[in-house]
Amino acid sequence: MSNCVLDVKNLSVKIPLAGGVLHAVDNISLSVAKGETLCIVGESGCGKSLTSLAIMDLLPKKAIRKVDTLKLGGTSIANFSEKDMSSIRGNKMGMIFQEPMTSLNPAFTVENQMVETLARHQSVTGSKARELAVNMLEKVGITPAEQRLKQYPHQLSGGLRQRVMIAMTLLCEPELIIADEPTTALDVTIQAQILDLLRQLQNDFDVGLIFITHDLGVVANIADRVAVMYAGQIVEEGTVFEIFDKPTHPYTRGLLRCIPVPGKIKRGEPLGSIPGMVPSLIGTMDACRFEGRWDDASDRKFKQKKQKIRPLCLKDRIFEVEGDAGHIVRFCCDECLKKSNLNIMTANG
């Protein structure tokens, strides 16, 4: 699979706390191909940010990462030392963060912070580096680039800073970019611009993009494939059409139910929501994670039909949706599987 930029199998992140072990990320697998955008969707606390940090090996010291397979462009980086990792970070894979206002060092110019990446990874310095930086700034829509280079972060707006971050990340032409809610802190109009920019750059550079968000509107806009994360697990995964057309897991259905559609929702009708709260992930994880979050009444009103599923790995309760190769669902316990009321096909179908 030379087309595969990132291959992750069975990634777990555990964090020992004073009150027990926090199972932040529980055996997730995902993959990204060249030029493809994978959106990881989920609410706060589901583990999506930690997943991205785990891939980059930027987890806090106390966190413990376990992974069966972690390959970047075919090369396994699961056991890379910090030294090796630091030479591919910013180089073969890059990351864009959520808060552009504080993600750049206030003491150095834009030029300084961009050029140091080139010096570090490609030994390019001086006027050549400047030239590359200028070109990249122009590509992300910052003009006049020369002027902006000399400025300090505090002289730029949030949208501009995020563009600078994007430019910085693209400088060494990475194979994979992880964007962790890059537009959440920005105005809606700027958000749209940044999304357009990312889409365009992805085309130009053929880079694999993981886009983490909690906003389904953004997902619909930019995703090729979607992974829905809940309580540290990926509960559903598929192409963006499959997810929006045929949501299978009760959580996904709940998420989509919550989107108010103008014209379809009556005045005075309550907005959809998923009842209950995300469970605590500390301690042994035998209990059901979706306990108390069912809303059968609303689900029945939900237009999307329930799909038939075929078992892929009964032990881990992983199923494939009938007719959609690659559209995967995962249940945390047998209870959920039963309550979901889905038609389980046998191998013979």
Binding site: A24, L50, E99
Partner: protein, 296 residues
């Protein structure tokens, strides 16, 4: 704030967290024990001191402490160059250090608090003047001015306390000023609030503890500061005058003989060090305990 903001990671492993808390309190406990012991010793000096600290005995000059071969239990810490019992002088010296520390802190605390509160309460020009005065005071070389004034007026316990009290008020002023400003801003919050009664509650539960906490911390700092300054002044001959058993003076008197009779400078020096250390530990402890845990 950062990507790992989803989970708070301030706790270390269980044991480490517990140890840290105990250790933090440990210092304060030790410090407080020492301070209270010294206070007790100072108060009970007449009962505890084996001899009269001013009594000279020229037959028994420079007797070493009891742990030396030539020492004896009659003079546990030995005697000085005039045959005065060192332990007794040390005990009475505690009175001097504490008197000066507390006295100077009281005076400077009073001055500083008044200035700070006035500045914070009236704002405007009063604030400008007070801030200016603080800047002026900070620009003056304290040691030099103290020395000069004492030299001219003459050294004595009262003079030292007064001079130090008149010089060490700046931190009090700064802290009380910001606390008062904080209280003042509450007025505007209150005016904006529909419910009025919460102001005094907020004052009592949030601001006052903060103010008291800061005040205690600054007071301990300045007490320690005054004690060290007096010792330095007396060491240079421009502080408390002989025959008073100021620890600084004892070091000064002993320094000519420090080569062979080193206990003369070691003992009062250690006493100073321990007292100041204990006061600092106590102050640090109070700050650590009252500050973060108030956020409930």
């Amino acid at each position: 704030m950062s990507a790992n903001s989803e989970i708070k990671l301030d706790d270390g492993p269980k044991l480490g967290l517990l140890a840290k808390k105990v250790k933090g309190h440990q210092g304060m406990i030790i410090g407080s024990l020492i301070v209270f012991s010294v206070i007790a010793v100072a108060l009970l000096a007449p009962l505890l001191a084996p001899h009269d600290p001013y009594q000279q005995d020229l037959m028994k000059r420079l007797v070493p402490p009891v742990w030396d071969d030539r020492g004896s239990w009659e003079h546990i810490f030995g005697t000085d160059h005039l045959g005065r019992d060192y332990l007794s002088r040390l005990i009475y010296g505690a009175r001097i250090s504490l008197l000066i520390g507390i006295g100077a802190a009281l005076i400077s605390g009073l001055i500083g608090t008044i200035m700070g509160v006035l500045a914070g309460y009236f704002g405007g020009r009063v604030d400008m003047v007070v801030t200016f005065m603080i800047t002026v005071r900070l620009s003056m070389p304290v040691v030099l001015v103290a020395l000069a004034v004492v030299a001219i007026v003459g050294g004595s316990l009262q003079v030292v306390i007064t001079v130090l009290g008149l010089l060490l008020w700046d931190r009090f002023a700064v802290v009380m000023r910001s606390s008062t400003l904080q209280i003042r801003s509450m007025d505007y919050v209150a005016a904006a609030q529909a419910v009025g009664c919460s102001v005094s509650r907020v004052l009592m539960t949030e601001v006052m503890p903060n103010v008291v906490n800061n005040l205690i911390v600054i007071t301990t700092i300045e007490i320690a500061h005054a004690i060290i300054l007096e010792a330095a002044l007396s060491f240079l001959g421009l502080g408390v005058q002989p025959p008073l058993p100021s620890w600084g003076l004892m070091v000064s008197e002993g320094k000519d003989m420090m080569l062979f009779e080193s206990w003369l400078i070691t003992i009062p020096g250690v006493a100073l060090f321990l007292l100041v250390l204990a006061i600092n530990l106590m102050g640090d402890g109070v700050r650590d305990i009252t500050a973060p845990e108030n956020r409930n």
